[in-house]
Amino acid sequence: DAGVTQSPTHLIKTRGQQVTLRCSPKSGHDTVSWYQQALGQGPQFIFQYYEEEERQRGNFPDRFSGHQFPNYSSELNVNALLLGDSALYLCASSLAVLGYTFGSGTRLTVV
C-alpha cells in the first residue's frame, strides 16, 4: 500500500518564477494538507483540501494556491517566488481522526 508520494523531490527556481508541486495521497485518504517547513522549525500549515475545495487556510499570501483533483491528488502552486519561500514543502493526507501520513517532501530552493 503506497503512502504519500510527492514530486519532485528537489527543485531549484529563480526569484519571480512560479512552481507547481504535486502530491498523491495514501490510498483511502480523502483529505490533503500542505505544510511549509523551514530548516530547524516545525511544519507551518498552508492549506487543506477536502472534496476538491480549500477548507482551511493558514497565514500564507495569495501567491500560494492549490487544487485537489477527483482522485484526491493535489497540487500546490507558488507564484512570484521569493528567497524566503525556500523550504521543505510537505504534503499530508488523512482520513477522519486517524492522523496524517506525510510524504517525504519537496525541497525547494529559490536563488
Binding site: 504519500v4 480523502d30 483529505t31 494538507s33 522549525q41 516545525g42 511544519p43 500549515f45 487543506q48 477536502y50 472534496e51 477548507r55 482551511q56 521543505l88 510537505l90 499530508a92 488523512s94 477522519a96 481522526v97 486517524l98 492522523g99 496524517y100 501520513t101 506525510f102 510524504g103 517525504s104 517532501g105 525541497r107
Partner: protein, 113 residues
C-alpha cells in the same frame, strides 16, 4: 486561536536515561497524534490516541492522552541514540466536514552515546 504547547523545546540526554515530553492545550481534541521527524524527511506517525485517558505503548515509548482530551505526554524509557529527532504532537479538530490538525511547537531530542 488554538494552540498546542510542547515542552521542553530542546532536550539533550545521555543514552539510557528516561524522558517525558508534554503537549498541552486549552482545546478539546477528537484525537491526538505523535510524530517523529528526521532531517530532510517528512514526519512519521508514531501513534494516534482517541479516548480520554488512553495509554498506548510502542516498545520503549509510552503515550498517554489526558482524561479531558486536552493534553498528552510521550515517555521514553532508556533512550537510545536512534531516538534522536524532532518529536511533534498534533491534535485533530473537526471542521467543514473533515478534520484539521494543529501541530505543537516540537521537541528536539538529542540522545548522546
Amino acid at each position: 486561536t488554538q494552540l498546542l504547547e510542547q515542552s521542553p523545546q530542546f532536550l539533550s540526554i545521555q543514552e539510557g536515561e528516561n524522558l517525558t515530553v508534554y503537549c498541552n492545550s486549552s482545546s478539546v481534541f477528537s484525537s491526538l497524534q505523535w510524530y517523529r521527524q528526521e532531517p530532510g524527511e517528512g514526519p512519521v506517525l508514531l501513534v494516534t490516541v482517541v479516548t480520554g485517558g488512553e495509554v498506548k505503548k510502542l516498545k520503549r515509548l509510552t503515550f498517554q492522552f489526558g482524561d479531558a482530551r486536552k493534553d498528552s505526554s510521550l515517555h521514553i524509557t532508556a533512550a537510545q541514540p536512534g531516538d534522536t529527532g524532532l518529536y511533534l504532537c498534533a491534535g485533530a479538530l473537526p471542521t467543514s466536514g473533515t478534520y484539521k490538525y494543529i501541530f505543537g511547537t516540537g521537541t528536539r531530542l538529542k540522545v548522546l552515546a
